[in-house]
Amino acid sequence: MLSWYRSNQAIGIYLCIALGLLLAYMLSTSWVFRETRDGFLLGFFPLLGVAGMMLCAFGLIVDPLRREVPEDFEDLAWADVANAILMLIGIGFYFATMRDIGFLLVTPVFLFVYMLWFGLRPLKQTVLLAMAIPIGIYVLFSVIGVRLPNGILPAFI
């Protein structure tokens, strides 16, 4: 029974609920039924996209492969999803600080934390790589004409 929650049928149901909410939101907005100059409804294509997705989600619920559990979904733990979200939040935080503090100051910290998180050892190697890679990337992008944020670094030099 536990694996049913990961089957195509269950995925179809989750998608139908999510898409139903999206459709309800769209129908509650005024722009959907606004007519353009050529007499076409502004919301026709967005609604077509949602309707198409809903049809496919319904297909997942009823088609012959409905009982199948997708190979990569079978072993997906909540911890994996949490780790993926944490990775993304970390990247978002890295970007926000990198813009203000500077690429060369923040990237080594980001790389060190992530390499350590992924299990790179020994520590000395992790530190060295975390220092060397940003310098390499900075030089490469400077050569091809992309300016990376310097942040507060010029104030120190």
């Binding site: 502004l42 919301g43 997942l60 088609d63 990569d72 780790n83 993304l88 970007f95 091809i144 990376l148």
Partner: protein, 517 residues
């Protein structure tokens, strides 16, 4: 032939800058291909923001070089470690790794290189011959024919790009929905923006592509790294043989003895590459399977160079033909073709049959780069192929965070918009979940790209027919035929479960099971 445009293309292509980017693209591509888990799509997604800085031929050199190099590069780790750099090279594992274990890894890599380059070159010649003719035909199409052609492409993509029709079509639906966010293409009125001002310009291509193809892949790899370490130790011992000049190389006679397998690869790869949705993996396995059935005396599957020749000729022969639907109809046939189409659009050139008349110099330049790229691939593969085998040993613990940094820089440098980064991260998560539940990414990106054209053509057809839907949709026998064909594709795929059968082609039972990623 437009001689003036040809001259212009010659002066554009044969410059130090274009040649530099072509060589850089192949160099980078072979390296990316040789690293398990990194595909041509990931590579192109990461270098796409760079295309803003290059002229159009430099950009084409970089992207096409990277594509060609990555398809060949995948065979290096397939042969050296039994871990294909990308699924496209999974069929090469069967014979390639057995040859490595016999101490003939050098011979295996050389036949992979030569068969790849041979089939790629010949398929490019076929593309150069047929693409203009098809484009000429496509120019006769009206809006309703163009509309149905796009629907056929979406149906084929949905049907053939995964093992589950509903998931392929779901991906296309997501692409269509995302493609409508922003401004209406005809009346320029904002719509579907969720009341967010920053969405008025729509989703930008670069963060979308980097998010779906690169970031999602890195999340996947990052989780894999956390769980286990890859087993490459056994093969590492044999890796030294690749660098040993005394180890057995490939003779010209042996290369020529593979002509039948290369011919099969060329035929299958060219045909499969032209069809939207199939791609290099199916081509490689089909060629390999046909060669194995046709020539049992060659003992394909037991460590034979003929098996490698069939598989590698099959996957590389798709490189040029995958651009045919893009150039002839403006509809990308694969994810990589969509990325190349996106790069052209970022340069202000919209891929369509009219491109042959509006930008003939770009078409000639593209053909030249396709052709020259093979010789660059040959040179780089011959000189550095064995060194690239070492790249398979680079730890993903180092690689994944580095690529994450590159993805952030790439998404930000394209427009300097903060929202692009958050969009890229969100789309990265969407791509990650799509992979996990088995929804292919290719239909999403392709439908996203053609969504505005689809809408424009439908609305144009309706305008011509004064708002009457029936004549707008079915105004010619060709439009009716294409509509019927699209319906047939969906019905037949659903009834016969073709997607699952094609997916099985990529999972042929054999003694050495290839491990993708």
């Amino acid at each position: 032939m437009n001689v003036e445009a040809l001259n212009e293309a010659l002066t554009l292509v044969f410059t130090v800058e274009t040649m530099f980017w072509l060589v850089a693209g192949v160099f980078l591509g072979v390296g990316l291909g040789a690293i398990p888990g990194l595909t041509a799509s990931t590579g192109i997604a990461l270098v796409l923001p760079l295309s803003f800085l290059l002229d159009i031929t430099g950009m084409l050199g970089l992207l096409i070089g990277l594509y060609k190099g990555a398809i060949f590069g995948g065979s290096i780790s397939a042969i050296s470690f039994a871990i294909p750099g990308s699924p496209d090279s999974a069929a090469t594992v069967y014979d390639g790794y057995k040859l490595t274990k016999q101490g003939k890894g050098r011979k295996a890599i050389l036949i992979a290189l030569y068969s790849s380059v041979t089939a790629d070159t010949l398929s490019d010649i076929i593309v150069i011959l047929i693409a203009p003719t098809i484009a000429l035909m496509a120019l006769q199409f009206g809006p309703s024919e163009r509309l149905w052609l796009m629907v056929v492409a979406i149906a084929l993509l949905g049907a053939l790009s995964g093992r589950h029709l509903a998931k392929g079509m779901l991906s296309a639906g997501i692409g269509l929905f995302l493609g409508t966010i922003g401004t209406d293409p005809v009346s320029n009125v904002p719509r579907n923006t969720f009341d967010q001002v920053w969405l008025r310009d729509g989703l930008h291509l670069v963060p979308l592509i980097i998010g779906i193809f690169a970031m999602s892949q890195m999340l996947e790899q990052g989780l894999g790294v956390m769980r286990s370490s890859r087993k490459v130790q056994e093969a590492s011992a044999k890796l030294g043989d690749l660098f040993n000049k005394k180890s057995e190389g490939l003779t010209f006679r042996e290369y020529l003895s593979c002509w039948r397998e290369m011919g099969i690869g060329l035929g299958v790869g060219t045909f499969v590459g032209t069809l939207p949705g199939l791609g290099a993996t199916v081509a490689a396995f089909l060629s390999y399977g046909i060669a194995k059935q046709s020539f049992p005396e060659k003992r394909i599957g037991e460590g034979s160079i003929h098996g490698i020749a069939a598989a590698e000729a099959g996957n590389n022969a798709t490189v040029g033909p995958t651009l045919v639907p893009l150039l002839a109809f403006g509809i990308p046939g694969s994810a990589t073709a969509a990325l190349i189409g996106a790069a052209l659009m970022l340069q202000g050139v919209t891929p369509s049959p009219r491109m042959f008349t509006l930008h003939p110099e770009v078409i000639y330049a593209l053909f030249m780069i396709l052709f020259i790229g093979n010789f660059v691939n040959l040179g780089i593969g011959r000189a550095f192929g064995f060194l690239y085998a070492r790249l398979g040993q680079v730890s993903p613990k180092v690689l994944v965070p580095t690529i994450m940094v590159m993805a952030v820089i790439g998404a930000y440098s394209a427009r300097g918009d903060v929202y692009d980064i958050y969009m890229m991260l969100g789309l990265g998560f969407l791509g990650f979940m799509m992979r996990r539940i088995g929804v292919p990414e290719a239909p999403l990106i392709i439908t996203f790209l053609i969504a505005p054209m689809l809408e424009e053509n439908l609305r144009r057809a309706l305008l011509i027919n004064r708002g009457d839907w029936m004549p707008a949709l079915f105004n010619s026998p060709l439009a009716i035929t294409m509509a019927a064909f699209a319906a047939l594709v969906i019905v037949v795929t659903f009834r016969m479960n073709i997607g699952a059968k094609l997916a099985k082609v990529g999972r042929m039972d054999n003694e050495t099971e290839p491990r993708t990623k």
